[in-house]
């Protein structure tokens, strides 16, 4: 028996991936109301975080905190939380849509396609989610800049940490997608992983204030280096270093490492689900 995808002309792959991207964008467009709701909530979260981080002693002694944010602090936080939000939405969108496909049985249908199944899940869907998520994060920046002053250095060099963010984020999303294929009800695990990544990556709190034992974990995360790289270029106006946190070596290594790990985990889990015949069992 020749698998359907083995008979597919090569040109069809691009067409099918393109269709998957278009489908994802159409899905995103159909959820525009939900996205509109999400946006102010994410901005509120970021601002509240900005105002309250490090105010514990002040709250206990005076019962008040200063509800102002200086421009540097606001921009510092915006880059960290903005990058995290991008990864968060990317993973969540991919996970919930995959879960919907599993529940409704349409996931198995994608395995009848002439291209390998991973192309749909590992390429088409993340690409669509990237487009949608980038729009949301861009709008978040726009809305936030109307509330607090944000001063960034817009330089092409910032594209490197952005690329690392996307590549690493897709890797993480693939890991979550793979686990969802086997264990289905992993929304809590999903939230837990995303929360830990936010904590260790320095998105909200400077790595200098983190416990020493957490630093090796922080170094292994693609998000840590993407955020540090973005802050170096867009906030401090410096060039990316070769080594060190946010340097080129760490950016490339962690991004590729997470992507490869994501593909491996996804393929392993997909194999398990196929062997068990549980791709659409829920």
């Amino acid at each position: 028996v020749i698998p359907a995808h083995a008979r597919a002309p090569r040109g069809n792959v691009a067409l099918i991936v393109g269709n998957e991207v278009v489908k994802g964008i159409q899905l995103g467009w159909s959820e525009r109301l939900q996205i509109l709701i999400e946006m102010p909530l994410f901005v509120s979260f970021m601002l509240l975080l900005g105002y309250t981080i490090g105010t514990g002693d002040q709250i206990l002694t005076t019962g008040h905190i200063n509800w102002t944010l200086d421009a540097y602090r606001a921009a510092w936080l915006c880059l960290g939380i903005g990058a995290y939000t991008f990864v968060y939405l990317l993973v969540q969108k991919l996970f919930w849509r995959l879960l919907t496909d599993i529940q409704t049985g349409t996931l198995e249908q994608t395995y009848l396609s002439p291209v390998p199944p991973w192309v749909h899940i590992a390429l088409g869907r993340p690409l669509a989610s990237i487009v949608e998520t980038a729009v949301v994060v861009g709008a978040m920046y726009g809305v936030t800049s109307t509330v607090v002053r944000l001063e960034f250095e817009w330089r092409l060099e910032a594209l490197m940490p952005v690329a690392a963010l996307i590549v690493g984020g897709v890797g993480l999303a693939l890991m979550v997608a793979g686990l969802a294929l086997v264990w289905k009800r992993i929304e809590m695990l999903n939230d837990l992983v995303l929360m830990l990544i936010m904590f260790f990556s320095g998105a909200g709190l400077n790595l200098d204030n983190m416990p020493v034992w957490s630093l090796p974990i922080a170094s292994s995360l693609f998000l840590t280096h993407s955020i540090a790289g973005l802050r170096t270029v867009m906030l401090d106006g410096d060039s990316l270093a070769i080594g060190g946190t946010g340097g080129l070596v760490w950016l490339a290594t962690t991004a590729v490492g997470w992507l490869v790990s994501g593909v491996v985990v996804f393929k392993l889990c997909e194999g398990i689900a196929q062997r068990r015949g549980t791709l659409s069992h829920y």
Partner: protein, 243 residues
């Protein structure tokens, strides 16, 4: 709940860690025990609300997609009984998880929580308030399926403004007003006043905080019930409760 024991552990771990992370951030890199005590009831309510939303909205959507929601209504019992059973199960799971999670925090950080006999009444009012909110979102999710993807955002905002993050008296005046519309905020604030400022119940009543808490819980539950049951009835009538 018992059949999902494997999920309960990461659930608890997630809730616990998230609260500690928030307190770690507010403490600027350390956890301040006194602040944890002030925020603990907010955290408790957040856990209950989180799980209630997960079960009443996300799980109801799951069942809609798989078709078992319609099946569960093919019973001689009226749909209201089914809804009530689902709600009680969700709230029980939330309550048990929240109590365990709060107890772990108390044990780890040696938080001292005084006891007053009035507090259980406030806890019941807060539970009614959260149950109403879960019904409201669950009912909307039955009509607008995409709400499933923003439940996490709703849960996050609930945590931000109900006193889990910082006590609400620290908020700017306008935000205090907004926060009081959110489920559980009023109940948590009254509990904080009773336990940590030693305010007599009479003072809390005459200041309007307690009557407002009761009114909020009653209105939220009535509204939530009407929306949820309305969505179920409409789905049964239109045949739209299936995939």
């Amino acid at each position: 709940m018992w059949s999902h024991t494997a999920m309960l552990v990461p659930q608890l771990g997630f809730m616990e860690l998230w609260f500690w992370v928030v307190q770690f951030f507010v403490g600027g890199g350390r956890i301040i025990d006194e602040l944890v005590a002030l925020a603990l009831f907010g955290f408790w309510a957040y856990v209950v609300g989180y799980l209630a939303l997960l079960r009443m909205a996300a799980a109801v959507l799951e069942e809609t997609f798989t078709g078992t929601l319609e099946q569960s209504l093919l019973t001689p019992l009226p749909p209201t009984v089914s809804s009530l059973g689902r709600l009680v199960a969700a709230m029980t799971e939330g309550l048990v998880t929240a109590v365990i999670a709060s107890a772990v925090t108390v044990a780890v950080f040696r938080v001292s929580i005084p006891f007053r006999w009035e507090v259980p009444i406030l806890i019941v009012l807060t539970l009614v308030d959260l149950a109403g909110f879960a019904l409201l979102i669950g009912g909307r999710a039955l009509v607008v399926n995409s709400i499933g993807a923003i439940i996490h955002v709703i849960q996050g905002v609930l945590m931000l403004i109900n006193g889990t993050y910082i006590p609400i008296y620290v908020f700017p005046d306008w935000l205090q007003v907004v926060a009081k519309f959110a489920p559980s905020t009023l109940g948590i604030d009254v509990i904080r006043r009773l336990l940590f400022t030693d305010a007599p119940l009479g003072d809390v009543w005459s200041a309007g905080a307690l009557p407002l808490t009761m009114l909020h819980a009653a209105v939220m539950f009535a509204l939530g019930w009407a929306v949820y049951q309305g969505a179920i009835n409409r789905g049964l009538r239109d045949g739209s409760l299936g995939a």
